[in-house]
Every structure is written in C-alpha cells, then in structure tokens.
C-alpha cells in the first residue's frame, strides 16, 4: 500500500479517538513519524468527530484530546484549542473507533480510504487527487443492496476478492464479534455490493463472576483476508476482545469466606460512589459549585476506600486479544 506513490510501502492506522494516521515509508524499511490524515480542505479527518454541547450543559469531544490538570483548573487540549472543564460546563471525551484501509474502490488509479466507524457503518473517502498526491474528498456511506452498510456497532471492514471473481468484495467485523460478507455483484470499475451473508457468528464477552474458565472467542472483530496456508484460497484472520477467568488455583474455604466479607463491605461504598457520580453527571446534574466540589471530594475518598478493599480481592476476569484463523475449507 503506497499512498503517496513514492515506491515505499506506507502504514495506515485508525485509532480509538478516531483520527487516521499515516506512517510514510522511507528508504531503509523505515517509517516517518505518524501524521493525521487531512482532507482536501486541510481539515483533520475524523468521521463523526468534533465538539458537541450536550443537553445537560456538558461539552463532549469526540477525538484525540488531552486533559491537563493544573493549579488553576482542569483544561482539555483539542486541535489547537485549550478549553476549560468547569463545574458549570464539564468536558468529557470519547472516540469514533476508526478502522481504515486503502483500496482503489472507484478504479481511477489512486487509493481511496475505506473507514469503519463506531456507529456500525462503513464510509468511502474518495481520493480526488493522484497516485502521488492524495486529495481526500467528502466521506459517503458505502451501500449494499441500496442501503447503507450497518453492522450495528464498531464496523471493522476489510476489502478483498473473497469469491475470486476478479473484483473487490467487502467484509466487515462488528461489535458482537461476527463477520459479514458483502459480495461485489457489480464489477471492479463499478462496484455494487449485495446484501450481507454472515461468514462468522457472534463471539462472547462475559465479565465479573460470569467470566468463563476456558478460552472463548470474543467480540469486536477486526479482520484481515489472507491466504494463510498457501493453498491459493483466501482465509480469514479475526482479532478479538475476549474475557476469561484468570488462571489461578481455587481459593481455600477461609480465603473464600474472607473474600465474601470484603465484598459485603464493598457494596455500600460502591453504592454511595455511584450515587455521587449520578448527582455529578445527571440528569439532572448538580450545578452549584460548592456542592459539586463537595461531591467530588466525597467521590475521591470513596474511591480510595474501594481501592483498598478491592486490592485484597483476586480479579474475577482478565481481558485478552486473540487472533483467530478461519481456514477456507
């Protein structure tokens, strides 16, 4: 994948906050420091990203932002702005979970971007420039059978010729761990995607006491099509987010009894912590500055107590990220 046509392979990545990163390949099999991809207007690309004012007066930033806690207050740095998070207008941040690959989708000789999004849809960002100088235009939903592709949440797309008929198909992983195939029933020059066929069913992720003992394929499938066993037929690689009980010996009866006691002590503290959180976040949100500061302090103290108790308990689950191989039969 050589997005600037200089003969060196480049590296492209999405990110949880949502911006897209290009590591340009250089001589020596090396890569330049990452740069955020921008569109033809010079704007940083993050589909669904930006600042919104929520109905309860909170500011929500979807994108790469950095908190700065100083003596004068708490600030958030985002795209050259330095915004203050106050009691009247607290700021929180989140992401759009971008997943990106490059493919010449419109068959005009340069690489376009295919981008999956946390909202479950897949976008095409057309390259309106040249193979040596990309100019990315406005994103558009990719359609299948006339409807926007929508896998529910956390689309993880990959383009590949799955059915070996000479044109690119679309495969999409999803939040539930499934993988769907949208076959190209048009052509390379004029792609037309059909309704989805499920190639892989949902995985699972159970936390806390319900976490399984044995390995189970997880969720949030991020996929890659590749002929892994060299038999000439494309196979499917699926990365996941999986949950499992930690591999430790069963505690002795006295230890178990002690854990039960600690959990009983923990419960009312967690309830008070959640109540304080609810009053701070709302709706309705407490707006009086003195009261907010009192609640924040109470939460800090409760968090300390919770941590002291939780540190005496063995963890009930641990997360994993496996890579599964589905060989084409």
């Amino acid at each position: 994948m050589d997005i600037d046509g200089d003969g060196y392979t480049d590296l492209l990545s999405g990110s949880w906050p949502g911006e897209l990163f290009l590591f340009r390949g250089t001589a020596d099999h090396s890569f330049a420091v990452p740069e955020m991809l921008k569109d033809g207007n010079g704007e940083i690309i993050n589909i669904g990203g930006g600042i919104t004012e929520e109905s309860d007066g909170r500011m929500l930033i979807r994108g790469n932002a950095e908190f700065e806690r100083t003596g004068e207050g708490t600030f958030v740095k985002y795209r050259g702005k330095r915004l203050e998070s106050t009691a009247e207008r607290p700021i929180s941040t989140t992401g759009t979970a971008s997943v990106v690959s490059a493919a010449d989708w419109d068959a005009d000789g340069d690489l376009d971007l295919i981008v999956g999004n946390i909202n479950g849809t897949v976008y095409l960002i057309p390259n309106e420039g040249t193979p040596k100088a990309y100019v990315f235009g406005k994103e558009q939903h990719l359609l299948a059978n006339g409807q926007p592709i929508d896998v529910g949440s956390r689309a993880g797309p990959c383009v590949a010729d799955w059915d070996n008929d000479g044109d690119l198909d679309m495969l999409v992983g999803a939040d539930d761990g499934s993988v769907s195939l949208f076959r190209n029933v048009g052509s390379g020059r004029s792609p037309k995607l059909a309704s989805p066929v499920q190639l892989v069913g949902p995985g699972e992720a159970s936390y806390g006491p319900r976490a399984p003992r044995e390995v189970r394929r997880g969720v949030r499938s991020k996929i890659c099509v590749a002929d892994w066993n060299g038999d000439g037929r494309p196979d499917l690689l699926v990365g996941d987010l999986a949950v499992q009980k930690p591999d430790r010996p069963e505690p002795a009866p006295e230890e178990k009894a002690e854990h039960e006691r600690i959990r009983k002590d923990l419960e009312p503290i967690m309830n008070r912590f959640n109540e304080a959180t609810q009053r701070l976040v709302g709706p309705p949100r407490v707006r009086d500055t003195q009261e907010r500061n009192r609640l924040l302090e109470e939460r800090r103290q409760l968090a300390k107590q919770m941590e002291a108790l939780e540190s005496k308990l063995p963890p009930e689950d641990e997360t994993h990220g496996w890579v599964w191989l589905f060989v084409r039969k």
């Binding site: 999405g14 099999h29 690689l237 990220g321 890579v323």
Partner: protein, 101 residues
C-alpha cells in the same frame, strides 16, 4: 450456524467462483513462539504482510494497550507459517503508536 448457500453466476466460469456460506473451518488461535498471540487490553487487529521483504508473509497485530503494533516474523513458509516471538514496532527508541485515549 450458517446454512449452506451456493451462488451460481451466469456468464462466468463456475469453477473459478468459490462457494459461500458454510465453508470456513472452525477457528484456531494463531501462535507465535509456541504461545497464542495475545494483545494488551485486547482489540487485536491483524494484518498479513511481508514486513521484512523476504518473500514470505509475516503478521502485524495492532493492540489497544498503548496504541502499539506487534510484528511477528514468519520463520517458516507461506504454506506452513511459523511465527517468531513478537517485537514491537519502534520509531527510534520509542514504541511506534497511535493515540488510544
């Protein structure tokens, strides 16, 4: 479970069109250096690519923890891959990474 599904396209050589539906073997976890590949904070994102340019495909795996990227070199062949222990993608002394919030 998927029910078997066969699509026949007119005007194409049928033997070149692969059957869809129930044609994937049960999944197995990929291993490197004898252990299943496992990423920190999950969200493994694989990509098969010939990283070291030796003509044989390797495996890259993105992870959520630290926004990092693992490189697993294939010390085997394209038909019988054998992945070495993972090495993090570095840029100078630091891990190459993207923001992870």
């Amino acid at each position: 479970m998927l029910s078997a599904l066969v699509i026949v396209l007119t005007g194409l050589n049928a033997s070149s069109v692969l059957v869809l539906g129930d044609d994937l073997a049960p999944p197995v976890r990929l291993e490197a250096a004898g252990k299943p590949i496992d990423t920190e904070v999950g969200h493994a994102a694989p990509l098969a690519y010939d990283w070291d340019g030796d003509g044989v495909k390797d495996l890259l795996v993105g992870q959520f923890g630290g926004g990092a990227l693992w490189i697993f070199r294939n010390e085997g062949t394209d038909s019988q891959p054998k992945l070495a222990a993972g090495v993090k993608f570095k840029q100078g002394a630091k891990d190459g990474s993207v923001p992870s919030g």
